[in-house]
Amino acid sequence: MRGDLIRILDGLMKRKGKFDAIIVETTGLADPAPVAQTFFVDQDVGAATRLDAVVTVADAKWLQDRLKDAPEARNQIAFADVIILNKIDLVTPAALAEVEARIRAINPYAKLHRTQKCDVPVSELLGRNAFDLDRILDLEPDFLEEGHHHHHADDVRSLSFRIDGDVDPEKFMPWINDLTQIDGPSILRAKGILAFKDEPKRFVFQGVHMILDGDLQRDWKPEETRSSRMVFIGRDLDEAKIRQGFLACAA
C-alpha cells in the first residue's frame, strides 16, 4: 500500500506546477495513519510534498451505527483535522446534536462543518496547514463541550495536559520518545506547545503514532504566560500514567 502511494506521488511530483494539490482518497474503512505517515517517513515524498490536512466525511444519519460496529470509523474521526458532517437534512436537530457530541467526545480539535451534499468551500479543505509546526498556534478545542466527560466510556478519545510553567527538556525528550515508541500504536495524533527551561522560544511538536516532528518555533511573547500543554488523541490511553509522566517533566 505505502509503496503504491509513494510510486504515484513520485509520478505526480515530476509534473509539479500542473496541479494545485494532491487529494488522496482512501477506501471507506481505511486507516488514515499509514497514509499520513508516508509524508513523514519517505524522504523523497517528504522533500517534495507537505501533508496539509486529513479530512473525514461523516454521515449524520449513520455515523452513530458505524462508531459502534467499525473501529475504523472511530479512527477516522479521531485522526481528522476537518470533519464534514454530511446529510444533516436527514436527521432531527436533537439527533444532530447527539452525533456532534459523539464526534466531540472523540475529537474536540477538528474543524467541523455541517453540510448537505458536502457543500463546503474548497478553501475550508485545502491549505489548512494542519501538520505545519509553525501553524500550531494554540491547542484550544474547536468546540468546548461541557458534558464530554460523559463519553469517557469510548475507547478512542482525546486527553489534554498542562503544566503552568516550564518543563525540563532533559526529562521531557526521553519521556516523550519512550511514550511514543511504546504507546505509539495507540496514539493516533499528538500535539504540544512547551516552554523549555532557559529557552526563549516555544517548542512545538506534532506526531502520528510513533513518528514525532518537533522544533523550536517563535519566541514567547512578553504578554504570553509560559506554560506547557499537550494533547493526545488515541485508543485506550492510560490517562493517569501519561499525566504522571508529563507532570514529572516539570522544571
Partner: protein, 337 residues
C-alpha cells in the same frame, strides 16, 4: 580514456546546453540522435543542433522510459506504451485496456519489450505477440535477461523470473521488502533490485540462488549502472557513488568503493561504455566525471538550484555524455580529444 588528464580540471566549456519544458524522465542515444523523455508527455529529439518535439503521450504524463540505442520506449499515465525511433517514427506498441498508469518499461533482445500496469505484466515480441501474467503486487522494476526471452519482475517481497513463452509459472525469489528497480548483470549471472527500504538486494542465479545484501544507504538507490565489463555496479542514494564488486561470487561480504564524495546526494550514476570512468550526478545539480582507478574528478556541471540530475546517457563510442535535470535543463558534454 587517455584523454582525461589526472589533475582536476573543468570540462564545463565542453558542454552544449539543452532546454526542455519539463522534468527529464530518461534519455538515450539513438545513433546520433539524442532522445529525451519528458514528464509533460513529449519526447525531444536533438540531432545536429536541431530539436524536434514529439507528442508521445498527448494531454498526458510520461512516467517511464527505456531505450536500446535504436528506439526509445515510453509509458504514460494514459496507459499507452509508445516507441520512438531516431528517424522520428512514432509507433504505439501497447495500450492498457483499463487505461492504468504504465509503471515500468523494459527492452529486451530481438526488439522485445515489456511493461507493467498495476499488477499486470505484459511482454511483447517484435512480431507483436503479447503474453501477460499477474504479479503478486504492482511492479515498478522490469529487466530482461541479456540473452533469451526471460523477464525479471521486481515487486513486493521479491522478484519473479518469467519466461513469457513458457507455460510454467514464473520462478519466485523471495526477500522481504518493496523491490523497486530491477537490473540483470551483463553476463546474466546476477540480478539486483533497489528497495524502498534504502538498500539493494541481489541474487546470484543458479540451481540454488544465493542472496546478496547491499545496505547502508541514507536514501533509496534508484539509479543503477553496470561497468562496461560487467564487473562493477554503481548505485545512487548516498553522498558518493557506491560501486559494488561483482567479480567471482559477487559483493556479499565485500565492501563497496565510494567515489565522488560530496555534501550532496548522488541522484544518477552512469558508467562510461568502454572504461572505468563514471558520470556522477547529484541532487544539487552538480555533475562530476570520476575515474575509478585513481578517483580523479573532473567537473562537468557546477551545482544549479532546483536542477537535480535525473538522467544520463553515454553515446555508444563514449565520446558524448548527455544529461537531464528535474527542471528540464540538460546538456551534452563532448569529451575533448
Amino acid at each position: 580514456m587517455d584523454s582525461i588528464p589526472a589533475q582536476p580540471v573543468s570540462l564545463t566549456q565542453h558542454v552544449a546546453p539543452l532546454e526542455h519544458a519539463s522534468h527529464v524522465i530518461a534519455m538515450g542515444w539513438l545513433g546520433d540522435t539524442l532522445a529525451v523523455a519528458l514528464a509533460d508527455g513529449t519526447v525531444a529529439l536533438h540531432r545536429d543542433g536541431i530539436t524536434t518535439t514529439i507528442a508521445a503521450h498527448p494531454d498526458a504524463g510520461l512516467l517511464v522510459a527505456a531505450h536500446d540505442r535504436k528506439r526509445l520506449v515510453t509509458g504514460g499515465d494514459d496507459g499507452r506504451v509508445v516507441a520512438i525511433s531516431g528517424d522520428d517514427k512514432v509507433e504505439e506498441l501497447g495500450r492498457d485496456a483499463k487505461r492504468r498508469w504504465i509503471d515500468a518499461v523494459a527492452m529486451g533482445p530481438n526488439d522485445s519489450i515489456a511493461w507493467s500496469a498495476g499488477k499486470t505484466i505484459t511482454a511483447r515480441e517484435a512480431s507483436g505477440a503479447l503474453k501477460s501474467f499477474e504479479a503478486p503486487s504492482s511492479a515498478q522494476g522490469l529487466a530482461f535477461a541479456p540473452k533469451g526471452y526471460r523477464l525479471m519482475v521486481a515487486h513486493v517481497n521479491g522478484v519473479s523470473l518469467w519466461f513469457p513463452n513458457a507455460k510454467a509459472a514464473p520462478e519466485s525469489l523471495e526477500w522481504k521488502g518493496s523491490h523497486l528497480d530491477a537490473t540483470w548483470s551483463p553476463d546474466g549471472r546476477f540480478i539486483v533490485t533497489s528497495l524502498l527500504e534504502n538498500a539493494l538486494h541481489g541474487w546470484r542465479l543458479g540451481a540454488k540462488p544465493s542472496h546478496m545484501r547491499m545496505t547502508g544507504y541514507p536514501a533509496k538507490p534508484r539509479s543503477l549502472s553496470w561497468s562496461h565489463d560487467g564487473l562493477w555496479l554503481s548505485s545512487s542514494g548516498a553522498e558518493a557513488v557506491i560501486i559494488w564488486p561483482f567479480q567471482g561470487d559477487g559483493p556479499q561480504g565485500k565492501a563497496p568503493r565510494e567515489c565522488g564524495v560530496r555534501r550532496a546526494r548522488v541522484s544518477q550514476g552512469a558508467f562510461h561504455p568502454g572504461s572505468y570512468v563514471i558520470a556522477a550526478g547529484y541532487d544539487d545539480g552538480c555533475i562530476l566525471l570520476i575515474r575509478m582507478t585513481d578517483a580523479s574528478e573532473l567537473l562537468v556541471r557546477p551545482a544549479v538550484r532546483d536542477s537535480a540530475i535525473t538522467a544520463f546517457a553515454w553515446d555508444k563510442p563514449g565520446r558524448r555524455l548527455a544529461f537531464g535535470c528535474a527542471d528540464g535543463q540538460g546538456g551534452i558534454l563532448t569529451l575533448p580529444t
